[in-house]
Amino acid sequence: MEGWSSYALSDFLLFSPQTYFRQFALINEAAMPLPVLLHALAAALLWLSSISTPRRGRIVLIGLAVLCAGSAWLFHWRSYAAINWIAPWFAAGFAMQAALLLFSGAAGGFKSDSPSRAGTLLARGVAIACVILYPLQAVVFGRPWREAELIGISPDATALFTAAMIVLLRPSRRRLLLVLPMAWLVIGLLTLKTMGAPEVWTLGALCLGLLAATIAGRKDRAADRSAPAPGD
């Protein structure tokens, strides 16, 4: 319809950066200690993934489902929807991601080939940055610490952490599990960029790290496949 096609992306950015980041303070205040517990869960999942076993992998996927569900409910549905009428759709996307992770965790199945060292290092680096750096950026960029973006609440941090952990764990439905987090990261980057928020640089840099981790993993596996088998 002609009416809709005349809109630009900025027309759908209905709020100021102050209002957007203020949502994190309101959630952190209202739902405490849940936001801290969810972030602690993310840290625990990162620790669990340091030793790769199928059982641990399944627990991590189920834990990631909890984090995505937390962001869907606490951020998108209960808070963001008040200032952005598209947010219920985002909530549905995060809920769907939680369901996919839950299903994948229950079904199990992980890649058995040797993981790429570069890919593993980069993915782990991105996940560590999500746990340690992401909550700090509120203060770094001059906002109150109450606006700290925690994994399990902040959609950017949650999507980034989830994607990094999927790259790290290499579950058998990896591509499917990456679709929604990656799609959100594009939306998150566009939102921050349109708002003119400096946080776009943090997210952008970590997205590049994630992309590099994905590419490095694929290249290493391709090299593994083309290398002559022992005894050839």
Binding site: M1, E2, G3, W4, S6, Y7, L13, L14, F15, S16, T19, R22, Q23, L26, S79, A82, I83, N84, W85
Partner: protein
Amino acid sequence: MTHSLERFPHLGRRALLGGALGFGALAASRTRAVAAPLTRAIPSSGEQMPLVGLGTWITFNVGRDPAALDASAAVMRAFFEGGGRMIDSSPMYASSQDTVGYGLRKLGRQDAVFSAEKVWTSSTEGGPQQIEESRREWGVQRFDLMQVHNLLAWQEHLPRLQAMKREGRLRYVGITTSEGRRHDEFVRIMEREPLDFVQVTYNVLDREVERRILPLARERGIAVIANRPFREKALLRALADKELPPWSADIGAASWAQFVLKFIVSHPAIVCAIPATTRVDHVRENLAAASGPLPDEATRQRMADYVAAL
């Protein structure tokens, strides 16, 4: 001065009575306000409208944040105390309507506001429901002005709005556009439909509407609301470190915001400019632009040239 302007009569009477008869503290607090804003008549009715109103795009979309809701109510209080009347919103602006409703209920000023709303849905049947939801959010008995937002499904909505006006459920009907969208179609609708208001983007840099829309509005007796007067702050940010011209004092502009607003509201077709703000000092500054001398045509050109050269 080239324009026929009248003082806002409601506040003028209040001030006079308050001062002469020594009315109570409430009246005194309201008469503390600076000079009442200049007004201009809505062509279709003759009703006088203060030249500066209050927009809500982005600034009033604060969700359920109690502190921000109270801050918005404070802006509305300053707006009413300064003699402002028109507040403009839209279902597109997410929680902005709730914020306006919160402020009106808190201040008890449902009777003071000139409520300018929009219908914004491509669903033919969804229009009346959306208007009713908006009315409940504002907490008003009826809207003064209902506009078709950005011409979305205007063929379906306009006849319905005209019918609501005939039934007394609205006072005025209008259409809106912004940032130069679909001006050709906009002009065609202005030529054919009986409209009370149109809303367009107009400021010292965005002047395309001067060519066709503003002259046509005068010819057809349609009131014009100017949106995005500051290009959503970008214009004021760009001008912030520039010197106001020395002659700006001659038109009573003490800041760039007032300079830009005086340029807009001095066009004879403009009935109201609707800057949005989150700050009480800014709403007062904006309202003050609708007082004192307004530039004549030669000065308006000088203003446009000055800003364009910066």
